[in-house]
């Protein structure tokens, strides 16, 4: 059996799987678009809230610092990769490798301490007093105009309350 033939033997289940997956998805979307009802009323796109008309936008900013938490998580999670790779080679690397790895972990710990100390791990840090007052003022103004309000501290780094 030549190479090309062998490749086609190993590849064809994959191709079949791919094709059937695409086909299934296409079938579901296509059928529902054909069979599904269709209407074009004015209020059809409004969210249903028990007959009460919604106010404001759903695109609100959250004060929870998900992005920061996410980044810190990614950073530390990536370090785990190094731990795995060390674990595989640990016997071969001996004590010198062990020492180097302890040093590496020490660095990570230092980073953790730094983040903790500057308040990056606080869930919902308090914004500085001036900013909170400013946010209250802005919210009051916006409420009067019927606009959506903002949250103090959502728009800036969580480390602002240190120093």
């Amino acid at each position: 059996m030549n190479d090309a033939a062998q490749q086609s033997v190993t590849v064809w289940p994959l191709v079949l799987f791919f094709a059937s997956a695409m086909g299934l998805v296409g079938l579901m979307i296509g059928l529902s678009s054909i069979l599904g009802g269709r209407h074009n009323e004015k209020l059809g796109n409004e969210p249903f809230e028990s007959g009460i008309r919604p106010t404001g936008s759903a695109h609100r900013r959250f004060s929870v610092q998900f992005y920061l938490v996410a980044i810190i998580f990614v950073l530390f999670d990536l370090e785990v990769v190094f731990v795995f790779s060390y674990a595989i080679a640990a016997p071969a690397l001996g004590w010198a490798g062990y020492g180097a790895f302890i040093f590496f972990l020490g660095m990570i710990t230092l980073g953790l301490i730094y983040e903790w100390r500057i308040g990056a791990l606080n869930w919902a840090p308090k914004a500085p007093r001036q900013m909170r007052l400013e946010a209250i003022e802005i919210n009051r103004a916006r409420n009067l105009r019927g606009e959506s309000t903002i949250d103090a501290g959502a728009n800036h780094s969580p480390t602002l309350d240190q120093s």
Binding site: M107, L110, G111, I113, Y114, W116, R117, I118, T159, L160, Q162, S163
Partner: protein, 475 residues
Amino acid sequence: MQIVAILAPLIVTATIVLTIGAVAFTRSHRIMAGLSSTGLVLALLGLIPASITVPIQVTPLYIVDGFGLFYMALILIAALISAILAYAYFETQSDYRAEFYILLLCATLGALSLVVCSHLASLFIGIELVSVPLYGMVAYAYRDSVSLESGLKYMILSGVASAFFLFGMALMFAASGSLTFTHIGQNPGGSQLLLLGVGMLVVGLAFKLSIAPFHLWTPDVYQGAPGPASTFLATVSKVAIFAALLRFFQTSPVAQNAWLHVLIIALAFISMLVGNLLALRQNNLKRLLGYSSIAHLGYILTAIAAGGPLAATAVGVYFAVYILTSLGAFGVVSVVSSPFTGTEASDLSNYRGLFRHQPTLAVTLAVMMISLAGIPITFGFIGKFYALLVAVNSGLWWLVAALIIGSAMGLYYYLRVTFILFGAYEGDAQKSLTESSSRTAIMALSLLAALVIALGIYPTPLIDLVNVAGIAVPA
């Protein structure tokens, strides 16, 4: 032996660790500045024992030689001055001063590793280690939208440049099967792919060096960044990346290519003319310095186009010139402006009649301007002399012409700044610079001015030093 050879980067690394640890417990500005400058001074001293061991190959990635140590010294001095400037600059700010020093030290570490890299992988790591902290440094005055904007600009364009660089690396690896400088282009096969790779590498580096036509980000970023960050960007990052480029061109066989030679000549030619032309009408000192740095990198590229041992000397001398004068010029801007008591004082009108109330700063800036213009009695002349020497020696007449026309244009704006300094005092009242932090910075700057003049009159020690510091070619 290998440990001793890389003592300076190790000391900087230790300082980074120490600084991060310290910042977790104290945010005293004085302690942070003191810690980081002590680390940099120690690293500078660490070069002395290292000089005995060179040249030595440290892992396949790095080669420490006289050339590398010389540029390490330049980088450490520039970083030290930047730290001193930062101390004066951020003293008036109330929050977040400590992290700047961490970023500065990280970028310095990247720069130190760049000048000794002998492998494309280490070159890339070095470039990123310089660039990434710089994003933060450029945007450090985050309450100033101009600073934020310039940080973002720098980040995006720098990212694009890195992408180019990586692609070029990949192509070169595909063509030659190795990432070591001395192996790239060794075997004759795949020359088209290889050339494409080198071309992309040059484009990526030219972006970082702000060589025309890849210079568009330079003036905006220089203008927007806080003074010490501009200083660092204009000196340390440039010298480190350029040294790496020079080492690549001097040791890699691929650099013998005639087409590449033409490319470098064209880049140098365009940079000299474009930089000087665009600087002519600037009224902002930082933008002006940004454009003039484009022109100066064009002058230095002349040496790369020429090649040979004389070129290495010329680059060494010119970079010493460039570092000292840029530090001085940006330093004065940085000391005069303080972003948190108003806007950056980088408009030329802020310098009108500076001689009246800050004679030391004014004379320092005037000396730097004259040195940038390349007039004798300042070190700048020696640099320009070497650039011309190399160009004439290699018969690069186009570059000789561009150099002469470029410096004639350059005179216009350098002299304009100089005359404004001594002119009648019309500007608004300036803050008095009597704080001790500013005094240290002013002292350092006047020391630089004295050095520029002393080396302009008697450059022999430095030239000898550069001549000793040759590039080692690993077997």
